[in-house]
């Protein structure tokens, strides 16, 4: 029997209320959605995936070095063609021989990733992360963001009882044209509702469980009403649907909504209680039945978050900012950047075998005794202290950061000390996810992986810090 042994959820910090959208546009196409999660300017599907996976893996029963498979799902990979899992692998320090799989192109991609992990041998990591975009005038209104991660293994805490599929051609239901960023649907309301309900009902009905007895049900949730409508046909109770519905607080996070709803239900479920997840994406429907419950790190953030106004929303999401970084001046080449990934993702520093001093990055002569030595490499702790600090306003940053400033405003850059055994690892890094004016020398901060900047079309990721606690 395979199933879930650990899980984590990541939601970005900002929340936009539908009231704000209503005020901005005079109308809001976000039925049953009270507020939605909004990714910050330096976040995307990859950074949210890393954050959710860290929560699932951190302190869990499965050692990350033993993972055999990483199955990712997203409709919004940062590059339309480009690596997703390999970057997760480096950022999470997973073994290089891990099998990889990325499901994309539809909102049920998470079911594909789960299915792949359930079919695999040994420990597997499933990460579903999404931040869909739409036309700000309408299709964007319900769209949120978030990520859910599952560690799948034998002898699980939450067993998967069954998985069922239903596939049919449903043209015109939520699609994105090649080369476009905005998801669309043709708005043939009754037709769309009917084909989605049919797919979900067929898949749930095919499960070899008594769906009526489910205490939790995460049903495809593009708005707050749909899951309850679909549940009627599938014989799921309203109480069960309520336990697995998060779209009202998270928004339609594309492929990630049902997985986050599922983890919300599992975090409340007891011993042998049944939870059903029902996915739908462009004609593919899938239903998965789970038995039991487990604690989910980060699930409390479904009800948290900091409100933002609509103007800030448009900026953070990049709807009103176009930035292309040109070349010139000092430049860090891609091969040089790649050499430093262990430092940028995992904070790998060097200890001097002669004096015990700490050097970061671990190359060249020892920073303490200036001897040329072979460093003993170690991972620095991911929390540290602000030693020095500045706030960089508009125009005060290198041009690589002009787009970030237009989207996110002024940012704080600190010199951070991470205490090691003998001495401290010190490095410069941005403080993100906070009002830069609220940071002080002496504050405790925690590492997070964010997009640093995009140049020549290639997004570059690395460590930033957020206030701890």
């Amino acid at each position: 029997m395979r199933g879930v042994t650990a899980a984590g959820v990541y939601l970005p910090r900002f929340r936009l209320s539908t009231e704000e959208t209503q005020e901005a546009w005079g109308t809001a196409h976000a039925s049953g959605i009270e507020r939605k999660a909004v990714p910050a300017a330096d976040e995307d599907a990859l950074t949210m995936a890393i954050a959710a996976a860290e929560r699932a893996l951190d302190g869990g029963p499965v050692d990350r070095g033993s993972l055999n498979l990483v199955a990712a799902a997203t409709t919004t990979p940062p590059l339309e063609e480009g690596e997703f899992v390999p970057r997760l692998v480096r950022a999470l320090d997973l073994p290089a021989d891990v099998a990889s799989s990325t499901a994309t192109q539809h909102a049920a991609a998470g079911a594909e990733a789960l299915g792949r992990a359930l079919d695999a041998d040994g420990p597997a990591l499933v990460v579903v992360s999404d931040c869909p975009e739409g036309d700000p005038a309408d299709s964007d209104h319900p769209l949120g963001a978030g990520a859910a991660a599952f560690v799948i293994d034998d002898d699980p805490v939450v067993a998967v009882r069954d998985i069922a599929w239903h596939s049919d051609d449903t043209p015109g239901v939520r699609f994105r044209e090649r080369g476009e960023e905005n998801v669309e649907s043709l708005g043939i309301t009754t037709y769309e509702r009917n084909v989605v309900r049919e797919g979900v009902t067929e898949a749930v009905s095919a499960l070899d469980v008594d769906a009526e007895s489910a205490t939790g049900a995460a049903v495809h949730q593009r708005d707050g009403k749909f899951p309850y409508r679909a549940a009627g046909d599938a014989a799921l109770s309203n109480e069960a649907v309520a336990a697995g519905t998060v779209v009202d607080r998270v928004g339609d996070a594309g492929a990630a909504t049902v997985p986050i709803g599922l983890l919300s239900a599992l975090s409340e479920a007891d011993g042998s209680e049944l939870t059903v997840a029902a996915f739908f994406g462009s004609g593919t429907a899938a239903a998965v039945a789970f038995e039991g419950g487990l604690p989910v790190t980060g699930i409390d953030t479904v009800d948290g978050g900091d409100p933002i106004d609509y103007t800030a929303y448009l900026r953070e999401r990049g709807y009103v900012v176009e930035g292309e970084v040109t070349g010139g001046g000092a430049h860090v080449s891609i091969p040089t950047w790649r050499r430093s990934l262990d430092q940028r993702y995992r904070l790998v520093a060097g200890e001097c075998p002669e004096c015990g001093g700490v050097t970061f990055p671990p190359e060249g002569a020892c920073q303490a005794c200036h001897s040329r030595v072979e460093f003993e490499q170690f991972e620095a702790p991911r929390t540290g202290t602000v030693r020095a600090l500045t706030v960089i306003g508009q125009g005060g940053a290198p041009p690589e950061f002009a787009t970030l400033q237009q989207r996110d405003g002024a940012f704080a850059v600190a010199i951070i000390a991470l205490d090691a055994e003998d001495g401290a690892v010190t490095l410069p890094a941005q403080i993100t996810d906070t009002d830069p004016e609220s940071v002080d020398v002496g504050d405790t901060v925690r590492a997070t992986i964010r997009r640093i900047y995009t140049q020549e079309g290639v997004p570059r990721y690395g460590v930033k810090f957020t206030p701890d606690g």
Binding site: G329, A330, P361, T390, V413, P428, E437
Partner: protein, 389 residues
């Protein structure tokens, strides 16, 4: 080792001259330096040149040194372009002094040049901070203002230094620069102006930052025999010091000091056989206000944490015990990166000859302190006016 002397020193006006080139600006500086030499000196006597520039904007990144010497008619002489960021011409001067002291040449030229204001704002932004530690410091989103602001934050935290203390650097240096016709920003400012200026990189505001400047400077360095042929009370290079440090602030042993300044200063004092108490004036590297405070402490003008007090008590004012940046400093006179180091020598030379715009009373020893980047390379030179024979 024989002594080296400064026979002449001059500069172009510092300012925004987008229609000038590094060649035409150096032309002016060179003429000014030649004019300052006592007696009838022929540039044909110059045997070798060391010229500092960062090369902001990219223009002539290769061989700009020879291009300059050929442009001013120093045909065929060996010329070395020196790059150590904002300390480029501090190091060029050090090279010229070494060439003369070693006996290799009797007369050497040191100088520097930079054009910073003729490019689009996008292009310019690429070049600001190119001498910071690129791989980590720049990719954390800072240019120099940000790195010095981090030092300011640490200094304020550790020593209760205030925004007023930082602002007094601007008030003092603008007061001096307003007397200097070759200064870039030759106007006075009040403490209120300086405290309430718009932020650049918190805690540093606009008045805590030097401008980007076009300009050139040139210094003629000669052996004792040559120097005394032209001037019976020449200016001697009494002490030199220079030191390197980690280019990235985060890699250094201190956030509230520039260790290379400390080392360069100690060497220069020892070579000159004097201490900071013997100085009559100083030109220090005030690219940002906090840098002048750090210089006071690193060069022994006061104890650690006391720099704010020095400013409050007016010790470094023109009528104080140790007038500092009488030229206006980088803040008011301007900071054409490659030209700054020898530009400081120009002020020291004029002070020691009694020809400065803000003249110190009968000085004997003056110090020039030039910092590259946020402290990756530093030179300190102590000049002495000898008594007439």
């Amino acid at each position: 080792m024989r002594d080296a002397y400064v026979m002449g020193a001059g500069q172009s006006p510092f300012g925004s001259f987008p229609e000038e080139t590094y060649l035409t600006l150096f032309d002016e500086a060179f003429d000014s330096a030649l004019d300052s030499v006592e007696g009838d000196f022929s540039p044909d006597m110059i045997e070798e040149a060391y010229l500092g520039t960062l090369g902001v904007g990219g223009r002539q990144l290769g061989l700009s040194g020879p291009a300059v010497t050929e442009h001013v008619g120093l045909h065929g002489i060996p010329t070395t372009r020196v790059e150590n960021a904002c300390a480029a011409s501090g190091y060029a001067f050090r090279q010229a002094v070494t060439a003369v002291r070693s006996g290799m040449v009797d007369v050497a030229l040191a100088g520097g040049y930079e054009v910073m204001t003729d490019a689009s704002s996008d292009h310019t932004r690429w070049w600001l901070g190119v001498s910071g530690q690129t791989e980590w410091e720049r990719t954390s989103g800072t240019t120099f203002a940000g790195v010095y602001a981090q030092m300011a934050s640490a200094h304020m935290e550790q020593y209760d230094t205030t925004v007023e203390d930082l602002s007094r650097v601007a008030v003092k240096n603008h007061g001096n620069g307003a007397q200097n016709p070759k200064a870039h920003l030759g106007f006075e400012c009040s403490l209120d102006d300086a405290v309430s200026a718009p932020p650049v990189a918190d805690p540093l505001n606009l008045y805590h930052c030097c401008p980007t400047t076009d300009g050139a400077s040139a210094v003629v360095v000669a052996s004792e025999d040559v120097a005394k042929e032209y001037d019976d009370a020449p200016v001697r290079v009494a002490g030199t010091g220079a030191s390197s440090g980690k280019v990235g602030l985060f890699q250094r042993e201190s956030l509230t000091s520039i260790p290379a300044s400390v080392r360069a200063g100690e060497d220069a004092y020892e070579a000159a056989g004097i201490g900071p108490e013997d100085l009559d004036f100083a030109e220090v590297h005030d690219c940002f206000a906090i840098a002048e405070l750090l210089a006071y402490e690193d060069l022994g003008f006061c104890d650690r944490g006391e720099a704010g007090r020095l400013l409050r008590e007016g010790v470094t004012d023109p009528d104080g015990e140790l007038p500092t940046n009488t030229s206006g400093g980088l803040k008011s006179k301007g900071h054409p990166i490659g030209a700054t180091g020898t530009g400081q020598i120009v002020e020291a030379f004029e002070q020691l000859r009694g020809e400065a715009h803000v003249q110190v009373d009968d000085p004997r020893y003056g110090l020039a302190h030039n910092v590259g980047g946020s402290g990756g390379g530093v030179t300190v030179h102590i000049l002495e006016r000898e008594e007439a024979a």
